[in-house]
Amino acid sequence: MNREEEEQEEIIQAVLSTVERFAVSELAGGARERDGYPHADFSRKALQGAADAGLLLAGVPEVFGGTGLGPPVWARILERVAYEDAGFAAALLAHAMALQAVLAHAGDEGIRAAMEAAPLAYPIYQQAGEWDRLPRVTSRRGRTTAAEGTSVLTANAPVADRAVVVALEDGVPCLCLLSLSGASRPEPVEMLGLRSCPAGNILLDNVDPGEVLILASGEDAVRSLHAAFYPSATAILLATLKASLDYAVAYGLERVQGGRIIAHHSQLRSMYAQMEVEHLSLRLAWERALEPGVEEGACLALKILAAEHAVRATIDGVQLLGGYGYTREYPQERRMRDARQASQLLGSPARQKLALIDCRPGLNDPR
């Protein structure tokens, strides 16, 4: 490890210590309450805690007061946060993706304005490459003159003042920064999981076109942004799986059925074992994905695999608690919903697979 790498490792460890303190003091035990959204209020307390701990600026360059570590540091932060509350981790993911888009394409003034507007909103369920149903914008001489259509399931939108959305301009995808207030701020959509990450459909017809700034045009702008966050989406899935396993084992050591501790039944142990195999193998691959130079396709493949395993394992996580696992009194049902919802982060696994194989050299050659 050279000097630069050592310094970087020190910064990462400092960030992780901060996240640990934040997770324990602000998140632990509060996930059920935050999961009540939209029937309960959005928890701004946790968000304020994250801001106070400096986590909302973690991936920002040093010149703007961040760590300068870029998107990979987000993956590490989200993994710890998602262990406590995957929904809150998704809210941070949306903020991080929007902020990254601004950092990559806006000027200093725009960046500073965005940094002060936490949380930022972003359509985290949008798949790069699937441009159906995107809202449309029109611009002339660098100014947006018209905006219409809907940015579907935009995470944080019901509680954010600013959003980055993916839109089409003349049929070309682009990233747009816009302001949300009053009529343009959408109502929350009741979702399956990740409920502490509010999502809403932004109707761009309600947004003043003058408030829409096209940050970048072209498929690559969207694709590269998403590719940078595949390990973050994987982190949320991995942590949800791990949390489900840990809880199931702890419960199994307490619960007695038929005069025996249930964790001592080999049938249940085989279920724990399957979850452990999935967790450990995913973790190994995820750690590797955080290293520089890993191919985008490999990161996407890992996200797809993590989605499949997390969905399967968290369903077992409920089963291992029996009827209690199905009630909101216990966290396992939330983890099952969260994992299923998180599997759709940055796109649906079924369609992401097709997108992945489409990129294989030679497969689309005419015969």
Binding site: H39, Y125, Q126, Q127, E130, W131, D132, R133, V152, L153, V189, E190, M191, L192, G193, V256, Q257, G258, G259, R260, Q267, L268, V311, I315, V318, Q319, G322, G323, G325, Y326, T327, R328, E329, E333, M336, R337, R340, Q341, Q344, G347, S348, P349, A350, R351, L354
Partner: protein, 479 residues
């Protein structure tokens, strides 16, 4: 590939139940009756269940105390609570399969609302298993009278306790179970004390079939079944569980504090307690397999609907070969699940508790004798007499162990296969729908939430696989 519009519920009886339809020539009354029943309950589900399913789910999510009594009233007016009640007690004299077909139709539209009706039959089969014909007759008549008034008289089965779940459904684990519900002998009856949890339909029910134990250290040898009426002194329904899914069907927490049940309300306190529990599970798991089939079908129908409305890259999903493959797999899953419950239902009618009612003498009697005869005072008294109860009890106990186990094995297999396939189809529907399936308004995520409970109640699927082992695989040993 040719673009098509497909009716998710366009398949007829012959498509769905070829094994039953092929019995038409040999068992015309049965097959035709089932075909008519399917059409009738499908129409009911389309008209009264599907349109309210999402709103009821939403309302129950917002307010855990919410109960939809309008649905139970409509189901009562449609006589959905008396299908298997024998005609001698004023019921419809229908088969377990007819009930299962109704459950499948309701659950394809909403698993939670379907379970409101399904759970009632679990409670009813518990009362029936005691063969206390005076009590069974009185409760049956109350259900039928309720239907005539348009009011649902619902039964629950209160078996699960805070510290005892899977183990009280399994003979091997039962001796070590930490049961807490006690029944202390008192003059003229028993005094019940304890708690029951996850009781489906609790807050909607009039009667509760309760299991309790005279000796907590010997649950296997000291169990009894008794019925308790809502509002009875010493009995309270405390709260609903806040569940992930099937929110339309309340899961209640029941508390018994010095609740006195008279001997007339004791279903059975004899040594046959656990034998009767297994008889009940043998029948009720067929119903849960039908719930699983309905849920799997609901997922298939919803996925088909979404595939015909959602576009990706300018093409409807239904026009994609990979989507058609998944849809075909989902329908095949429905077919497998349905075959399992049909087989288990027929096996139950031949070898299980229902074999008494499906006996040619009983079916012939009910087919030939006018119902007015069963209402004649002398006939009523004879049917409800101690002697008749004793005869029926003996007949039930004399069903050979091998026959019972055969029925129980098939119902356990049907339960775990159908419910696992329901979960699988719910997952596949989520895959096809993608982000469009995440919002509650889509109806897809609800099916995903609903499906999971099926793998847990009526014995976890792990317990059911154990029962399959115990009742079929283990008894074929040559050692």
């Amino acid at each position: 590939m040719k673009s098509v519009r497909i009716d998710p519920r366009g398949m007829d009886f012959e498509d769905g139940f070829p094994s039953l339809a092929c019995l038409d020539g040999r068992w015309p009354a049965g097959a035709r009756r089932l075909e008519k029943a399917q059409a009738r309950y499908r129409a009911f589900a389309d008209r009264y269940v599907r349109p309210i399913a999402l709103e009821v789910d939403r309302a129950s999510g917002r307010d855990p105390e919410y109960l939809n009594r309008e649905f139970t009233r409509r189901a009562a007016r449609e006589r959905m609570f008396s299908i298997v009640i024998p005609k001698i007690f004023g019921g419809q004299g229908g088969s377990l399969l007819e009930m299962a077909i109704m459950i499948e139709e309701l659950c394809a539209a909403c698993t939670g609302l379907g379970n409101v009706v399904g759970a009632h039959y679990l409670g009813y089969s518990g009362v029936a298993a005691g063969m206390n014909l005076r009590l069974l007759g009185a409760i049956s008549e109350e259900i039928v009278a309720g239907e005539k008034r348009g009011e649902a008289v619902i039964l629950t089965a209160a078996h699960t306790e805070p510290q005892a779940g899977s183990d009280v459904e399994d003979e091997e684990h039962m001796p070590g179970a930490r049961v807490g519900m006690t029944a202390q002998r008192s003059r003229g009856g028993y005094v019940l004390n304890g708690q029951k949890i996850f009781i489906s339909d609790g807050h909607l029910a009039t009667w509760h079939m309760v299991t309790a134990y005279r000796d907590r250290k010997d649950p296997l040898g000291s169990g009894l079944l008794a019925v308790v009426r809502t509002g009875q002194p010493g009995f309270q329904m405390v709260s609903h569980e806040q569940k992930m899914g099937q929110r339309a069907c309340p899961a209640s927490f029941l508390v018994f504090e010095d609740c006195f049940v008279t001997d007339e309300h004791v279903v059975t306190d004899r040594m046959v307690y656990f034998e009767r529990v297994l008889f009940v599970l043998g029948a009720s798991r067929v119903g849960v397999a039908a719930i699983g089939t309905g849920c799997a079908r609901g997922a298939y129908e919803k996925a088909l609907e979404i595939a015909q409305t959602e576009k990706r890259s300018g093409r409807f999903l239904i026009d994609e070969q990979w989507v058609r493959q998944i849809l075909a797999e989902m329908l095949a899953n429905v077919m497998v699940a349905r075959s399992m419950y049909v087989t288990a239902g027929l096996c139950e009618a031949r070898h299980g508790m229902m074999s008494l009612m499906a006996h040619p003498f009983m079916t012939g009697l009910q087919a030939v004798v006018p119902e007015s005869v069963f209402r004649m005072p002398a006939v009523r008294a004879c049917i409800r007499s101690e002697t008749m109860s004793r005869i029926m009890n003996t007949a039930l106990t004399r069903i050979h162990i091998k026959r019972r186990q055969r029925a129980q094995a098939h119902s356990s297999a049907a339960k775990c296969v159908a419910t696992d396939l329901a979960m699988q189809n719910a997952n596949l529907a989520m895959e096809i729908a993608g982000a469009a399936g995440l919002a509650q308004s889509s109806g897809v995520e609800k099916i995903f939430r609903d499906a999971k409970l099926l793998q847990i109640y009526e014995g976890t699927n792990q317990i059911n696989r154990k029962h399959l082992w115990d009742s079929l695989i283990a008894r074929t040993t040559t050692l």
